[in-house]
Amino acid sequence: MRFVDEYRDADTARALAARITALCEPGRAYKFMEVCGGHTHTIYKHGLEDYLPQAVTLVHGPGCPVCVIPMGRVDDAIHIASQPDVIMTSFGDMMRVPGGTGSFLDAKARGADIRMVYSPLDALKIAKQNPSKRVVFMAIGFETTAPSTAMTVLRAKADGVDNFSVFCNHVTIIPAIKAILDSPDLRLDGFIGPGHVSTVIGCRPYRFIARDYRKPIVVAGFEPLDILQSVHQLLTQLAQDRCEVENQYARVVPWDGNPKALAAISEVMELRPHFEWRGLGFISQSALRMSAAYARHDAERIFRIPGGRVADPTSCQCGEVLKGVLKPWECKVFGTACTPETPIGTCMVSSEGACAAYYNFGRFSRERVKEATRQ
């Protein structure tokens, strides 16, 4: 109960928890999935699972874009980085993600010019400063970062920066949620919707979850009270036999999202027929590639991409963790062979991954673990 002791709005939280407990039907268990790494952080940091009634379980979905990049794509990026006159750039989170032939950091140690950037605009600046080099930005992320990549490509085109290209690995959240709903592995009672992705896509794209799958979804903010409030809203809907899209984070998320950001994405990118997700396999129309009009800035058209598939190490259970089938601590290498210092799987590499968040905060009660193991 550390949450209650530490949190500044402890009284409000206590009252909410009591209302949540009162809404639970006796004898019924509820499983809600959150699909945002930020939410996973809040849940572990504040020990929210200890705080919720035992009938309510929160499971963590594929909300970390670094974690869902398959090893083969990392190898493809390293292959590009190893070509003559290439400067590869990406976010810091990508640096330690292992491919079949090591990580960006390993490739850098072997002599590849790989640089960490904060923004794709930084990569564009490197391209302007190095006109004799081919500067590639390895783009990753959901709809939160895709508009930034798109805007940067538009700027590159406007400024005639022809030595700048994008190795596009942007993924879209809706097909991943649909894949999880269609998976027989997991029975869910509702979703805590991602906060920042929804800033861009809005709330409308989630309507199929309520309409076709009869599950409630509540788009949530990042504070502990936001999460508790969202759980309360989900349980209220279930108690009233409703399935709707609700927006708990309306103070930031507009119902229609950010049309300008969506327009930038559709100008520069198009849906891929299919894309491999780590743990989830191939999902139709679940990722973005550069459209033909921007071929000049598309690394996949400029370079020969090996496109090999690499199986995850057999000891690694990231796939099950990403689907919410296993809790991080239920993975057989969690905290022993796989730690943030020597990660085996992506969920431990990225600070937004469920395993790293869990490992770093270590806020679980033994009772809860025992209970989870029994299920």
Binding site: G37, G38, H41, T42, K45, H46, C64, P65, V66, F91, G92, D93, M116, V117, Y118, S119, P120, L121, D122, K125, K128, I140, G141, F142, T144, T145, P147, S148, M151, G195, H196, T199, V200, G221, F222, E223, R251, V252, P254, N258, P259, K260, A261, A264, S351, E352, N360
Partner: protein, 92 residues
């Protein structure tokens, strides 16, 4: 990387209408404001920033709440600020 971080607009760069100088946890950097839909921003306004771009305008209370959250998660936010410190988004 996918953390949204709040920043306060310090200065609108008149020569570069897409950019504003923004203060984020004591770091001052140029941020692209080209994705803010029909919203005017002025010094003192707060925005939510993703990888160098403002995705939404927020009020001061929300900015404070977002900062509390980010500070609570520790390393991931420290890494984001360290990366921002290295950022060199050009004013042109």
């Amino acid at each position: 990387m996918c953390l949204g971080i709040p920043g306060e607009i310090v200065e609108i760069l008149n020569d570069h209408p897409d950019l504003a100088m923004v203060a984020v946890s004591g770091v001052r950097r140029a941020i692209n404001i080209g994705l803010l839909e029909n919203e005017t921003v002025a010094p003192g306004d707060w925005i939510l920033i993703h990888v160098g771009f403002a995705l939404s305008k927020i009020d001061e209370t929300e900015a404070k709440a977002a900062l509390d959250f980010l500070e609570s998660i520790g390393q991931a936010y420290d890494d984001e600020i360290a990366a921002l410190r290295e950022s060199m988004i050009e004013q042109g």
